[in-house]
């Protein structure tokens, strides 16, 4: 509020800088703490120091030497990418139709996806557990990809239809005048224009899939399809690791890296995606 009508004095700038610093510390502290833990050796792990006295990559070497973690990482990456790709393709098609076309049943679709966005995911765990066992997809990649697509679709549809409303649609009309069918207009004119929005949505959907824990822990039972968030809680102080805290921290840091990269490179897009979808939808 201080900015209203006032001159940008140095005092105000210092004040804002201090506030910014508070926010930065607030946001980064838990992340830096787990990074610090992951860099401690097994001897100094329990010393309670905030900053490790000496840096050791022991924990990282340990986790990458186990199939438990490497397999989980591969599962996480594979499942999140496939689910994101499918959700974004389906979401793009539906969002285009919602933003541009007039057809009965449109409001129904918007309503259904809103319902799913609010849906308590745990309510699906019991029936999906039983249904997936019956279909033989329990503890497989498709068994996780399906619910991820389902819960990512509302997010994708809202974000994308918000983006699609901003596109200059006269171009589409012009293409249609030149003899393009609605399908061609979609593929050749609109799709390239929509690419930035689609990309932003893909990031948001990926973060959602990458984050999931409830489905990952309920619909898997072995290393075969367990993703990293679920595998973390199975890192017990077994023979290889005396204290799982070091391994858990290292694994946690590894799966945080993509998130940090997304945030650093695509901050603007993520903010735009989250706010446009939320306010307009």
């Amino acid at each position: 509020m201080a900015g209203i009508g006032g001159a940008e004095t140095t005092q105000k700038k210092v004040g804002w800088s201090l506030l910014n610093l508070v926010v930065v510390i607030y946001a980064l502290f838990p992340v830096l703490w787990i990074l610090s833990l992951s860099l401690k050796s097994s001897k100094t792990l329990a010393d309670g120091n905030l900053i490790p006295r000496e840096i050791s990559f022991e924990n990282y070497r340990n986790i990458f030497a186990t199939t438990e973690f490497v397999r989980a990482l591969a599962n996480s990456i594979g499942i999140a990418i496939i689910a994101t790709a499918i959700a974004v393709v389906f979401g793009t098609m539906a969002a285009y139709a919602i933003a541009r076309l007039d057809f009965p049943g449109k409001n129904l679709l918007v309503g259904v996806s809103l319902l799913i966005a609010m849906f308590p995911q745990v309510s699906l765990v019991s029936p999906l557990f039983e249904i997936e066992r019956g279909l033989g997809i329990f503890d497989t990649w498709p068994g996780l990809i399906l619910p991820y697509i389902t819960f990512a679709l509302p997010l994708a549809i809202y974000t994308l239809s918000a983006f699609f409303r901003e596109i200059p649609w006269e171009l589409e009309k012009a293409a249609k005048m030149d003899g393009a069918t609605p399908g061609q207009a979609f593929r050749k004119v609109i799709a390239p224009l929509a690419a930035p929005g689609v990309f932003t949505t893909a990031i948001l959907v990926f973060i959602f899939c990458w984050n999931d824990f409830l489905f990952a822990i309920s619909l898997t039972s072995t290393e075969q399809s367990r993703t990293v968030p679920a595998a973390l809680s199975f890192f017990t102080g077994s023979s290889q690791f005396e204290d799982p805290a070091g391994s858990i921290s290292a694994a946690a840091v590894v799966i945080t890296i993509p998130i940090i990269l997304f945030v650093l490179f695509f901050q603007r897009r993520i903010v735009a995606g989250l706010t446009s979808g939320a306010v307009k939808g």
């Binding site: 098609m93 919602i98 809103l114 699906l124 609605p182």
Partner: protein, 317 residues
């Protein structure tokens, strides 16, 4: 797709009954409809197949005695499971814990989130840095953050356990719930702030300046101008966060695993289903949670009507 098919005949007869000129027009319209359905079909089918049928199925399961440890004793028992769950002190404790966690964490998030939104919206310097760093709690895997908090409070290992005098805070109900609240608030305040920031952008600067000229204090400007204009954004943020907080699971799983009576309803359902392998009871809890969430959403939408997300989306274009 099925609803699409059933709707078609009514629509076409209506349009063909129109004048000749309109019939020509309706051909393009019909193509548009077809394309619309075609484009929506994959999304609609997936969403309905993965949520619609399981919900019906879980209602059916909730009426059975179905314990996977005794698969040969499956039996239709009517509402027996509901009676069992609703008369269980564990269930009511979990409901209570969930409600308290939801109300307290959403209230704190609203206040902190509003502060953060104002910082992100108005900061004279370093706006980019603040926005970037505050996205980290939003994006980070909840389980990762939860482990960070757990280790921080673990006696010996953690830097925060000193604050508690070396006591294992996570093994007592009330302190444990406070740590869970802290973890929830840390993780979700930035998301709240982003939603609120979008609302702040709708407040015209001229109005605030005019009010300042007339001698309104910063607080008066905030309460009398900013908040009323932002109201829809605040309600959307509250609705989304309330429903989300009500599902709390990840943080609890890592921090307490629901011990010492800290189970939320999701945690209790998971424990009955996956740990206890009791499908009947687990499904009953699933149905009850679904009903509670529906009730919360209904109350929000009834109370705040037009502010409900989606209610304006449908009518738009």
């Amino acid at each position: 797709m099925s609803h699409a098919v059933t709707e078609t005949p009514g629509v076409t007869t209506e349009t063909t009954a129109d004048t000749k000129k309109k019939a020509v027009l309706s051909e393009g319209k019909r193509a548009e409809r077809k394309l619309g359905w075609l484009l929506c079909a994959p999304a609609a089918i997936t969403m309905i197949a993965v949520t619609g049928w399981p919900i019906v199925y879980s209602i059916w399961l909730s009426l059975q005695r179905y314990d996977l440890k005794f698969p040969d004793r499956v039996e239709f028992v009517g509402l027996d499971n509901y009676i069992t769950v609703l008369s269980s002190p564990y269930w009511w404790n979990a409901v209570w814990v969930t409600v308290v966690l939801t109300v307290i964490s959403v209230a704190i998030e609203l206040v902190l989130g509003m502060g953060l939104a104002l910082i992100m919206h108005r900061a004279l310097v370093g706006r980019g840095i603040v926005r970037t760093t505050s996205l980290i709690p939003y994006g980070i895997v909840t389980v990762v953050a939860a482990f960070s908090w757990r280790f921080a409070w673990t006696p010996g290992t953690g830097y925060l356990s000193e604050l508690a005098g070396g006591e294992p805070v996570l093994t007592e109900k009330l302190p444990a719930l406070m740590v869970v609240t802290l973890a929830e608030v840390w993780k979700t305040t930035p998301f709240m702030a982003l939603l609120l920031m979008a609302g702040l952008a709708l407040v015209p600067d001229d109005l605030l300046k005019a009010a300042a000229m007339d001698g309104a204090s910063a607080w008066q400007r905030f309460i009398k101008i900013t908040v009323p204009i932002m109201k829809p954004a605040i309600l959307v943020a509250l609705l989304f966060r309330t429903l989300d907080a009500f599902r709390i699971f990840d943080n609890l799983f890592v921090l307490t695993a629901g011990s010492q009576g800290t189970s939320s309803v999701s945690m209790l359902t998971y424990n009955n289903l996956i740990k206890g392998l009791n499908l009947g009871i687990g499904s009953t809890m699933s149905v009850l949670i679904f009903l509670m969430v529906a009730l919360i959403a209904f109350i929000f939408i009834k109370l705040f009507g037009t502010a409900a997300p989606g209610s304006d989306t449908g009518g738009r274009r």
